[in-house]
Symmetry: D2
Subunit: 297 residues, 4 copies
């Protein structure tokens, strides 16, 4: 446990898997070591880049344990939970906290649509199941619900709900959130949003799948913004943007895993029915990684 | 195991749950007994009315075991499987088959979008993991994928993929399916479609959540259609329609569970974050159940 | 003017256009003559197949005049109006009525979203601007509004709002409309719905773009259904279905115009930015037209 | 005509209308005078705030004439054209240019969906119908098409297609546009996007409905950003944001018109079926206008 506010670059760790779907523990530990040495400010196992919705409980448990152990309290670990039912999410949150994480990222995949009252009740119950800080997560593209600003206002009253990661890519909504909630909830940018903008309106960091393959570039963007050199940060953001475009087009986990394999980390393929990157995608990704300096050119 | 073709009314069983989320086994056995005595032609535990995406593995296992035991081979049991990952779905299918079911209903909740190739690979793998007949399921409202007609054509080549339940409510697509695939795949109507129409274009039955509360009325519609008395069937369909409208508006599991409670089956509430029927919804439902003769007036 | 209830097959007339976008009057008159001789029960110029949203006022006026004159009171003419503003729609309706039509088809293209109150006020104003029967039209795919059942209930109180053509393809909604409104509003099937089903639940006819190229087949389906030979009607519906699929895939006006050209009516191409049928689409269409007997094989 | 590059604040002028739907010319001239005195950098009649899709040709023509005359070459006038058909749009563009405008804003409302090839052909034809600079406009919420980055790349080759106003609110897409097209096309922010961000990535200005009621505040945001005082600009953006939220919620033309009426400009109500601001909306708007200093407090 690392007791302080979360900020900066938190790579969404991929979940290294064998063909049979088993966790590859050593590649995970190596990746954690590598990212910490590169200077990341925290680690987020079991986000959507980490394929959390597709993994069974035991794989998720080991994923967190190995990450916590390898991080060795050098940086905070904020681990995802991912359950459709409220009782399941409460139990998963409580069990995850006991594994020694510094915070929970609360993801709720869904089936039937949910209204505000149901959404608030779910995340409030999850928050009360743990003592550690909770980061709310939403990605309306892949869910049948979303946070309204009103729902967030209610949830921000829970003392340990402290962060929000909104993956909608809807900056108008982010503006509404910061102007309504001020600093009662801290924003993390996500992969599909534009971190440059999130930093400019007060965001504290960036939880990002691509940061696994471009940790230094991600840190540079964050630091430049933090120092108020905004035009320079905009130039960095533009330079990195083609990577984002590729990652969105070719599927996130597949791209991050393929990029890490190119960098020498044998993290394997995504769990089916997710697909592996095809040859055309690999070539496009390789070129982009060279262009941003993430592979030797 | 009951070895013959599935046809007729297959109620989607609710999953009776205590407040703590445990399976209430006796109410389930009683409901099964009741429905068989009313004349239903089969039973489908663990569909979406059965809240399958929200249940843990052990609850799902017991749900199937109790249903199979209570049905006692009088009617076929087609049990749902519900896993986002292909390896998980294969394992769940194989384990479910061993519990003595007559068929599998293959549901795939989802997170990231999937293309045809991924969808075909998933369901083909599931079909090959079992020997029993497989019913494909799709509900594009709650998923990030759907079957194309081309994907169905490929899947229909698997010998044990024999049925399709398409909950899109899109009859144009059903027309395209029957005109393209003929009888290589048999159609079951679902709750949100119009069974009258599905029967008219050759559908073999109706898997339906509401059939738990209106088994006789559902059977009457099916039999009238089967005997070619189409105008009469249309009149029955119209009479039952307000029930469908209410069930769609107020959430399916909540309505079926509330209706069964009114009929004396203590099946409890849906698993949160799903919501219970509110008082206004209960009143509306009660009136409709009286109107269709499912509650004494 | 032909004063009686509308029923049966009403082809949506294409608008024959020169390359410069001028109305080709003789081909239109010839098409009208041809369709009446084939036995259609009415004619609908200026529906969406007629490219109404793309035409200027003068072209629309001539389109109606030529149709009315060529029809010569042998069958009713129900002409579309198509204006985004309420004052514009009222004026267009009144002017169209003066051209001697038997009814108005009220189409409302849209830009900003509209709520029920706005939708009701618009169509009520249009209905009150004329004395003739009004057919309401909705196609939610191409609009930013749709009729709720409540809005239709209010509108059905206007004495001359007598018909509805719902192009949503959503038969569940059609069921809700007929069970709520009974015969206070009469249903016409549209191209993308399944007329077989609309007839079975009480629909009075079929307004259809494809009926321009398959008038006899459309009439046969209608008559078979009207005589209660439902399985036979279902077989006809299935036989015709590939035509519908092609028309949806390749764009409606382009297909109907290309099909008519193949049948010897020089109706030209759709108005840009709509596209002409490409060679692959032409070949697919030609084959389908031969298969249903609409071209010599 | 004012021959230089467009940049800065271009209010989307409302179209002042009598109850009968006639243009109120004097209030328009007064509003133009007022906005120029406040320092706006240009004027945009007949955008969507100007209700262009709802107006007839004669009203649109007078709207442009009065604006051009009142502006008297002190600031550039970029007038909207708004036609669904390509021939109609070409004619409208050519006629508009002859009225003495400095540029065209090319809006394309739509009915049937369009692909890239159709979109490119339409806007290329419009551009070639005039000699003046063309600003491309897209608002995918209200259309059945959108610009792909590839389509924009093709269109940017037309020498007089020089600006883009993308009202999607999708900043990820804006990033893709600027990183792909560089300065071959210049970006204007729109009302629903976040101008702060558009300025930071190189945008040249802001075409905005709300700028009619908050011209000084809009100019202050633009100037602060232009001078590189980004944190200060972010604070201004946050302060103005509630206005945007209200305008989105209560409908754009209705809000701008109501706000101008509060400021003493008798611009009337929006054209039906658009609705007027209701009393609750008026109160909310009035409070917000006081808070940002646009009404005396």
């Amino acid at each position: 446990m690392v007791a302080k506010a979360f900020k900066g670059i938190f790579p969404y760790l991929v979940t290294p898997l064998t063909e049979a779907g088993r966790l590859k523990e050593q590649p995970l530990a190596d990746l954690v070591e590598h990212l910490i040495r590169k200077g990341v400010h925290g680690l987020t196992p079991l986000g959507s880049t980490g394929e959390a919705p597709y993994l069974d409980r035991e794989t998720k448990r080991r994923m967190v344990e190995v990450t916590v152990q390898a991080a060795a309290e050098r940086v905070p670990v904020v681990a995802g939970i991912c359950s459709m039912s409220t009782p399941g999410a409460m139990q998963e949150a409580a069990e995850t906290e006991k594994l020694g994480v510094d915070g929970i990222l609360a993801v709720m995949p869904s089936y039937f649509p949910l209204n505000d009252r149901q959404v608030v009740a779910h995340f409030r119950a999850v928050a009360r199941a743990v003592a550690c800080p909770v980061t709310l997560y939403t990605n309306p593209k892949f869910q049948t619900w979303d946070f309204s600003v009103d729902a967030l206002r209610e949830l921000a009253e829970e003392p340990n709900i402290q962060y929000l990661k909104d993956a909608s890519g809807n900056v108008g909504k982010l503006m509404s959130i910061v102007t309504t909630l001020g600093d009662r909830i801290k924003l993390f940018s996500d992969t599909s949003s534009v971190p440059l903008f999130v930093f400019l309106i007060g965001g504290v960091g960036w939880m990002s799948g691509p940061a696994c393959v471009i940790p230094e570039q991600s840190i540079a963007l964050y630091e430049t913004a933090r120092q108020g050199r905004w035009e320079e940060a905009a130039a960095l953001q533009k330079k990195q943007w083609p990577l984002n475009v590729a990652f969105q087009r070719y599927s996130l986990s597949a791209c991050v895993k393929a990029g890490l394999e190119m960098q020498g980390f044998p993290v394997g393929s995504p769990m089916p029915p997710q697909k592996q990157l095809d040859p055309e995608g690999r070539r496009a990704l390789e070129k982009i990684l060279r262009d941003v300096g993430a592979l030797p050119s």
